[in-house]
Symmetry: C2
Subunit: 231 residues, 2 copies
DNA sequence: TTCGCTGAGATAGTATACAATCTTTGAATC
DNA sequence: GATTCAAAGATTGTATACTATCTCAGCGAA
């Protein structure tokens, strides 16, 4: 995940904003004024601007000239393309891992899913994030950092899509499917792992309806995400 | 290819630098001091910094804290990963296009290769760039912008790899292979198209030795790339 | 000679001031 | 009452000034 971070300060802002978006604390379309954010983090607009530039490159933020930055709102067409791309990439991941999993790798996956189970139902936002990070972890285990980065990007943007078009994140089934994927990978059953992944991603893509929640206060969200908790 | 460009000025610097890197006018490891670049383009460091940030996100530039930006020098391991990823993505492109090519699409490809033939042997740098853009055009024809963006990124970074590890760019064979790929796609022969693409990419990846050229003058290079010729 | 220190120069990191642009509010007119 | 224009406010775009850090040359001591 981690590129050579340019500077620690803007990296911190970048991380915090990214997390807030991924946990759907900042909903698509939310305005991201530079000075409001800078004020919250105690940095100047210069720093914020760098973070926003990077987020834009990742597709999590859209900026309009002279209008500023907004949390990206994927169109239906974009959503379709992102799901397609994610599907393609994750098939590649499965193909590379099936039957080739190291013991430490399997342990790491197990540990992650255990963590998912621990917060299931308790902390919605964290649960959403962990579900995505399972797929990123999987991609990282291939050893190909580029592949992992692309998967991470697609997972992030899927989170955005679900925030726009999705119903509630039903994490119950997801966790069990994650276990099944691990099992199939351990057994070297590439076909089965692929099938489960297809179903899993299909399920994710399936949740596509319209919902509208209340607009949360930007400052209060940022106050929560300011402290850089690593978990 | 084109995201929502933040601001025209930094976008221009970004394009120019990118082009210079892709045409190997700026070789890997070249230092990219902010004020030297800013001076050349008549903009402040602020603008240059934005451009460099974007280039870093694309993997074309690496920055070291308090040391500044350099044209990225891919390690052998990165090179391997990039070729793997490119291979995976381009297979996806072929799979989607085989037998589904529209007439305008085929025309566009033909026109591009014709352009490649026109500059073959005459303008080395442009020839390198056009060869890469053939693959990007192919990816764009799938209609999936994300896929196209990723292919574009991999093509760019391959260009960087060849600049470090490659021998001379033998564009002669490449152009003919491009024609063959078009033919196979037109005939709907997915297997053949895939095989040619495999061979083609294998040939690209195959050129891996060590070379070292003379260091060109940064200012003179930028002077050439300052004028934003669109072709 | 070599090693280490010190200070000058250069360059990136950051904040801020100012300019340009957009949005919005309010009033005047139809 | 609706519409249009204008001015004020807000926010982004850009340049620049200042600070922190790194690099390297020069000098002195072992």
């Amino acid at each position: 995940m981690s590129e050579t971070t340019a500077t620690p300060r803007s990296a911190a802002v970048h991380r915090a904003l990214r997390r807030a978006v991924l946990e759907q604390a900042l909903k698509p379309g939310t305005r991201l004024p530079e000075d409001t954010i800078g004020e919250q983090f105690g940095v100047s607009r210069t720093i914020v601007r760098q973070a926003l530039t990077r987020l834009e490159a990742e597709g999590l933020v859209e900026t309009l000239p002279n209008r500023g930055a907004f949390v990206a709102t994927p169109s239906l067409e974009e959503a379709r393309q992102i799901f397609e791309m994610r599907h393609c990439l994750e098939r590649e991941v499965i193909a590379r891992l099936a039957g080739q999993m190291s013991l430490p790798g399997l342990d790491a996956l197990d540990a992650h899913v255990t963590q998912e189970e621990r917060v299931r139902g308790k902390d919605g936002p964290v649960s959403i994030r962990l579900a995505g990070e399972f797929h990123i972890l999987l991609a990282e285990l291939t050893g190909n950092g580029i592949l992992a980065r692309y998967v991470a990007e697609m997972v992030s943007r899927c989170s955005l899509i679900l925030a726009v078009y999705g119903r509630t994140h039903s994490s119950d089934c997801a966790v069990e499917e994650h276990r099944e994927i691990i099992r199939a990978l351990r057994d070297g059953d590439a076909e089965k792992a692929m099938a489960i992944m297809d179903a899993h991603l299909g399920a994710v893509a399936g949740r596509a309806e319209l919902t509208a929640g209340p607009e949360p206060d930007l400052a209060s969200v940022l106050a929560r995400y300011g402290r850089d908790q690593t978990p």
